[in-house]
């Protein structure tokens, strides 16, 4: 691995689900190498049918300090949740 190697985040779409899930990260020199290492490191036991790799530096993430302004204002809006419905027979979650 050379000095310009970067961190990549790895997402796998499993047979069971329909969406890609974050499974971990790895170092690689370029996206193509990252994709192959993702295959070797994260799909060795048949976990996936599709892989995404994203350079970690390309992800814009919210910060701890954003919590107050981002999420607290939603606490007093229970009508946005479906929690008040009675679940029909045979349905475990909605």
């Amino acid at each position: 691995m050379s000095e310009q190697s970067k961190l990549y985040e790895v997402f796998v779409r499993s047979r069971r689900g329909l969406d890609h899930k974050h499974v971990g990260s790895l170092h690689a020199d370029d996206p193509e190498q990252a994709l192959e290492y993702a295959r070797d490191v994260y799909t060795r036991r048949g976990e996936g049918v599709s892989l995404w790799v994203v350079a970690a530096g390309d992800i814009t993430a919210s910060q701890e300090s954003d919590c107050d302004s981002f999420y607290d204002p939603l606490d007093d809006k229970p009508y946005r949740h479906a929690a008040m419905y009675d679940l029909p027979e045979g349905i475990d979650s909605l």
Binding site: M1, S2, L26, A28, E32, E36, Y37, D40, V41, R44
Partner: protein, 252 residues
């Protein structure tokens, strides 16, 4: 030699190629340049060990009696192994390992594509499975060739030296003897002479992309198919077979 004996010999050759090369790759486990590559190399090693098992299992059925896949892997001596010499050469530096894999995998891919069409259904099934693995091995190998060839002065020099050192071992890959000739005539074995041109073109293309000069060693060795090996194979087998030699029949 009966047709059954020829087929047994053929399976052992292909199994030996896979086992010995797989073992050489496994020597990188925990010693590769970095974690991701360590796992990747070990994966490839396991592909080859798995391939060896398929050929040996078939060979055991052909031999009959008490023979199992382990009989072939653990209880034969150096002269009984019939792998290509290129498979047994010590792992060398990382460039050597990459160059060897690229040269061998490029051949293996073409070979397995043809083995898939063998009239022997067992060999055809192994060919179909191995072809998929080899497709990935060649993809990986090509990228490493380009990365090392176009990397630093040092990586380029090491890769060029590796290719030069290996080139004289590649003639043996395409040899045909009486055992294979009979099986080729029966539509069971792959005729490697027909693969050579395509192999050479594919390998030369990547070497040119990697800015490597075409080796012209002026030497060539063979002997693996007749059990004539380098000194190194004995040391490899000593490690590979130690447990079964020291404790025959040991199970876990």
């Amino acid at each position: 030699m009966t047709a059954n004996d020829s087929l047994l010999t053929y399976c052992l050759r292909l199994g030996d190629d896979a086992l010995i090369l797989g073992h050489r790759l496994s020597e990188w486990t925990s010693r590769a340049p970095f974690l991701e590559e360590d796992i990747a190399l070990t994966n490839v090693a396991l592909d080859f060990i798995g391939r060896a098992r398929l050929f040996y299992q078939y060979a055991a059925e052909l031999q009959g009696g008490d023979a199992t896949e382990d009989t072939f892997a653990y209880t034969r001596d150096v002269r009984d192994f019939t792998n290509l010499l290129i498979c047994e050469l010590p792992r060398g530096d990382f460039a050597f390992t990459i160059a060897r894999q690229f040269l061998f995998d490029s051949y293996a891919l073409l070979f397995m594509e043809q083995l898939k069409a063998s009239k022997d259904p067992r060999l055809a099934a192994i060919g179909a499975k191995a072809e998929k693995e080899s497709t990935y091995h060649v993809r990986r190998g090509r990228e490493w060739m380009l990365r090392l060839g176009g990397g630093t002065e040092e990586s380029h020099a090491k890769l060029q030296r590796a290719v030069d050192d290996l080139w004289g071992y590649t003639d043996e890959i395409f040899e045909v003897d009486t055992v294979t000739a009979g099986l080729i005539a029966d539509g069971v074995a792959v005729d490697p002479t027909l693969l050579r041109e395509e192999w050479h073109a594919a390998v030369s293309r990547v070497m040119a992309e990697a800015d490597l000069s075409q080796p012209s060693p002026g030497w060539s060795v063979e002997g693996g198919r007749r059990g004539i090996h380098t000194d190194d194979l004995g040391f490899l087998l000593a490690e590979l077979q130690f447990m079964q030699r020291a404790y025959p029949g040991l199970q876990w």
